[in-house]
Symmetry: C2
Subunit: 638 residues, 2 copies
């Protein structure tokens, strides 16, 4: 981070070269530029996506965009919002189509802040990121492409990657050196091909899809809903869009067809005629077509996401699948976010370089689950349409329910998955499990409902300093830091435990003390309160199980915690999901309402570990053990 | 509306001349320009308010700004949000100050969407309006002032008002003619003085206030809250602001002082020294002062808001009061909104000119209540600080409660008042009462909880076409139309009543049919669905007491209502305020969940009348009677 040789800002030395300015490249670039890294970002298109392409932002991705301060810029474009999916099939007798059911795309058993899919064309989303990059001094070089690269880790060079770039028309070229190279080039990644990394196909069946965006005039009643329509004339999927537009996906050919031809195509007129037949008895006329494309696609996963942990792949370069589940952009965002904070942890000096080896297994498993899901979801519907009672039961019950049949189980899983809340990272140095090196008995206390490797739950709390009701999970922005949530229980009960926690945290051999950066004097009084000037890697907040008005920060918290007074909260808001709890956030997380507990959340929002909050050094000891598994320094007081 | 003589767009003929571009002038200008009126808008300042002045947007005003599509532009400036007010007083023994209590500024018994006050400096708010005006082709002429005007209603002229305007430096002048002249010039209104309208003082006591905006460094724990602080050294009020700023109000002199001098002043340093003493034992240092001002102010109300219903006053030109209640800008907004739609109704041809006579009594009563409240509120606190139990009881109970003591009653009233939800217009042609000319027995059905002259209640509903969960009260934008809410009960029960309602509504002698503008062919299919192309004056929406998925618009609604398919809703959302209701919106409004009812809401959101929904012509007859009280045409089918 800013450690390049002192050869000026126009030097050809970069922290990272990012190729491709689609969702994955932009997310990576946005994170790293905010955290102070020097970036070379190129894209071979002359301008951002003008029309069409990906358009679905899942509920959890909207949380993420909000956490980055980008949500309002997205919503300013007035995207369409999909709350329900409707299923249309041929009637039992006669012709045409009838609605056989609808279900919530993100039912209330998923405790989502934004229980809908946001539909907006990719170019508008890209521009929101590009505007943010420009604020941080990153200009995407267009239309430029990558022509060659080499990565040499053997000599322990600071900039082991050499990259050749050129203008697409060949008028200019440039050689740069970087610590990392990232390919967000899409399915036909040059970098992946150069590395000789293969692509495995989970489901051998490939399809040719036609996709058309535009404005229609129709009496089809569900034109503003997401619909899956099967008719005797074929199948289409309807997706509402911003500006009264609609997107239709039509399957034009399948590798299971007897005359399968991956180059089969269809004209705009043919697709429109086909849509007309499928929608009968309803009418559909196109007032305007904004975008039309035909493309073959199969399920594929890149065998490796990196070979040397210097050159990485992400997004469509790593996984391709049908557009039906609307997961492409969302998965791309998470690939980038996962890699971004790990590069920051390594380059900033917190973590061993080995941390980077967790990128591929974490993200590849998610991609594999996505492809599995894609198949399962398709089969679920090809078997039979769900009965209305099943849909209702599935939507209204808790996530796990003893009497669920196979259909309802799959439905629930699929809702969690498509909403983005289902992402689960397996045990490793970051995601505590009984086999983690940290073996303190205080870890993973009995009763905790937080699952390591999964998102922290959402909870409303009241900020103590200004009585604002806020979303706890949104209080720490995506700043590259681990989030230390001190659930402090009842102030009268935990007073000594909090003192001991702060005392041990302040020791210079603790995870916090060892990476403390003592710049408090150089930041203003207010920045000091809002941000976290003492550490690039840890942001600490405290949540008391008490009414806001009863909390006195300077009395109830030791100095080290009281210092972050803008991050002290009262767990005093009623929660519909847990209506009888006195302290709903504590109760939701399964933490004792009197004694509290400490939750370590990774910089990307996934739970790392949970520890009891006890008197003495035990709690900090346990966290030191946890962080010792991947940190560069020897931690631990004893 | 656009009926000026055909002498080109640069002609000196305007629908209205608006003097002053503070909150009241901007709100009026914004409404009328959106509805197609030709406006001359001047302000004698060279630019919008640079710093300081009004800054409090009350909860209800935020609803209004959202209804105009302006809320997100306001919130983009990250204003401070006040959820609670803290009271600090001298301790029972010893020196200094202690917190004696806090209470919610908008407690949960007020069913507010945004239960907080939004604090943002007036200039930023003005710029949001100015940007909107520019989209509609209105440029405010600055720095220009009014030098003279005459209004002559005697000859039935179309443009009876002549106005002389000039550049403040005297380099240019202009004479224009208009249908209306509006003074939003503030407390020293030239127009008011020219008309010889006096100002009455309810409370003879005047004060000199000092107000300081800036960034402070302090250990006072409630610096981010609204605070009323009384100490042995004097009193101040603390208001948090955007960008970590704070505003302090200090009372410098009062006309009850023995040495009262309305010209008494204090320097910045004196006020800071005074604040230091008052806040002891806490420290306060100023990092930066953005604005400082001293001004004398007394309570005053203009005796008239208009003499001839051509030249009108609004905002501070009509009412001045202490800054403590934070009501100035909010009251100004409502003055303008009230007048705007009435001018539209008259000039657009819906209502008799006499409708304009309702402006003064409606708005003057609100101003009088505001001044009364201002006194009562001050006295409430000078008597004694509230006990904690009283505050809690007041905050958590329902609005009316038999055992409330005087203190709690006043508290509740004051919360409703300061939040903006307490505005109540008395009976007149618009606000039905038993003495209204419309005497149908179907009006004001038994059980209704809606009060005429007060806001319609908030309710969540599900939009049928796209399953989006939406705020019912926000669904019709501030478009100058009356809002006809057809609460349609159970589809199976009301089928015939809905058919009859639509049939009678379609008659060309009904309030709807008589002002129908048959321009459906000239608007696009989608505008047709979103807006309401058939009428400048009525927007109709339908709310069924049924689950969304059970509603089939084309089956359950007659054509005339089905046409507005984007405005058809399912009352199927759970509401915390009425947890056991099957159809919470119906239940909240006190309408029968089976049989429904029809609610007429004025263009500004206040309830005009409520009618039962019955088979036959009765419902439309009743509404025809209601509208006949102020409409230009003879309505009624029989």
């Amino acid at each position: 981070m800013e450690q390049q040789p002192s050869i000026g800002s126009s030097s050809p030395y970069y922290d990272i070269v990012i190729v491709g300015a689609g969702p994955v490249g932009l997310m990576l670039s946005t994170c790293l530029s905010r955290w102070g890294y020097k970036i070379k970002h190129i894209d071979n298109r002359a301008e951002p996506t003008p029309t069409g392409r990906a358009d679905g932002i899942q509920p959890r991705s909207l949380d993420l965009l909000r956490n980055m301060g980008l949500k309002s810029a997205i919503m300013a474009h007035k995207p369409a919002r999909v709350y329900e999916v409707a299923f249309w099939d041929p009637p039992q007798t006669g012709h045409g189509i009838v609605r056989t059911g609808t279900w919530a795309s993100c039912p209330s058993f998923i405790d989502a802040r934004y229980p809908f899919t946001t539909l907006l064309h990719q170019g508008l989303i890209e521009r929101v990121f590009i505007a943010d990059l420009e604020k941080n001094g990153v200009q995407i070089k267009r239309p430029w492409t990558i022509t060659d690269f080499k990565s040499d880790n053997s000599e322990n060079l600071e900039y082991p990657v050499e990259v050749q770039l050129k203008h697409v028309d060949g008028t200019a070229s440039e050689t740069v050196r970087a610590k990392y190279l990232f390919s967000g080039e899409g399915a036909r990644s040059f970098v992946r091909q150069q590395l000789g990394i293969g692509v495995s196909h989970k489901d051998p069946i490939a399809h040719v899809w036609g996709v058309m965006d535009g404005v229609v005039k129709t009496d089809f009643p569900d034109i503003k809903m997401k619909c899956t329509i099967h008719s005797e004339h074929g199948s289409i999927m309807v997706i509402p869009r911003e500006d009264n537009m609609v997107r239709l996906y039509i399957q034009i050919a399948s590798s299971t067809d007897p005359d399968w031809d991956p180059c089969k195509t269809a004209t705009e007129g043919e697709v429109q005629a086909s849509a007309k037949r499928i929608l009968e008895p309803y009418s559909i006329e196109w007032e305007r077509v904004e975008w039309y494309s035909v493309y073959p696609i199969g399920q594929g996963i890149s065998d490796k996401y990196t070979l040397d942990h210097r050159v990485f792949l992400g997004g469509d370069a790593c996984h391709t699948h049908s557009p039906k589940a609307g997961q492409g952009m969302n998965t791309a965002f998470l690939d980038a976010q996962n890699l971004a904070w790990k590069i920051h942890a390594v380059e900033g000096g917190l973590a061993d370089r080995a941390l980077l080896t967790t990128y591929e297994p974490e993200r590849k498993e998610v991609a594999e689950n996505l492809l599995d899901f894609d198949n399962k979801y398709a089969k679920l519907f090809s078997q039979r349409p769900p009965a209305a009672a099943e849909v209702q039961a599935a939507s209204e019950q808790s996530p796990t329910h003893a009497e669920d049949n196979e259909f309802i189980k799959t439905f629930k899983e699929s809702c969690e998955f498509t909403s983005g809340y289902g992402v689960a990272y397996g045990p490793n140095v970051l995601n505590w499990s009984p086999s983690h090196p940290a073996q303190s008995a205080l870890l993973n206390p009995k009763g905790t409902k937080l699952r390591t490797g999964r998102l922290m739950m959402n909870a409303d709390v009241t900020r103590v300093v200004d009585a604002n009701v806020v979303y706890l999970e949104q209080q720490i922005p995506l700043n590259g830091s681990f989030r230390i949530y001190v659930f402090a229980g009842k102030p009268s009960v935990t007073q000594q435990a909090l003192k001991d926690f702060a005392f041990n945290l302040g020791d210079k051999r603790s995870f916090f003390g060892a990476y403390y950066c003592d710049n408090i004097a150089s930041v203003s009084y207010h920045d000091n309160l809002d941000l976290n000037p003492h550490s690039l890697f840890f942001t600490i907040c405290t949540v008391f199980a008490a009414r806001r008005s009863s909390i006195e920060i300077s009395r109830d918290l030791p100095d080290l915690l009281a210092r972050y007074r803008d991050l002290v909260y009262a767990d005093d808001r009623w929660d519909r999901h847990i209506p009888d709890a006195k302290a709903a956030a504590h109760a939701k997380m399964g933490l004792d309402e009197e004694n509290g507990g400490v939750v370590v959340v990774r910089p990307d929002g996934y739970v790392g570990c949970v520890a009891s909050l006890v008197e003495g050094s035990g709690t900090v000891d346990a966290l030191n053990d946890y962080f010792s598994a991947f940190c560069t320094k020897k931690l631990g007081i004893t």
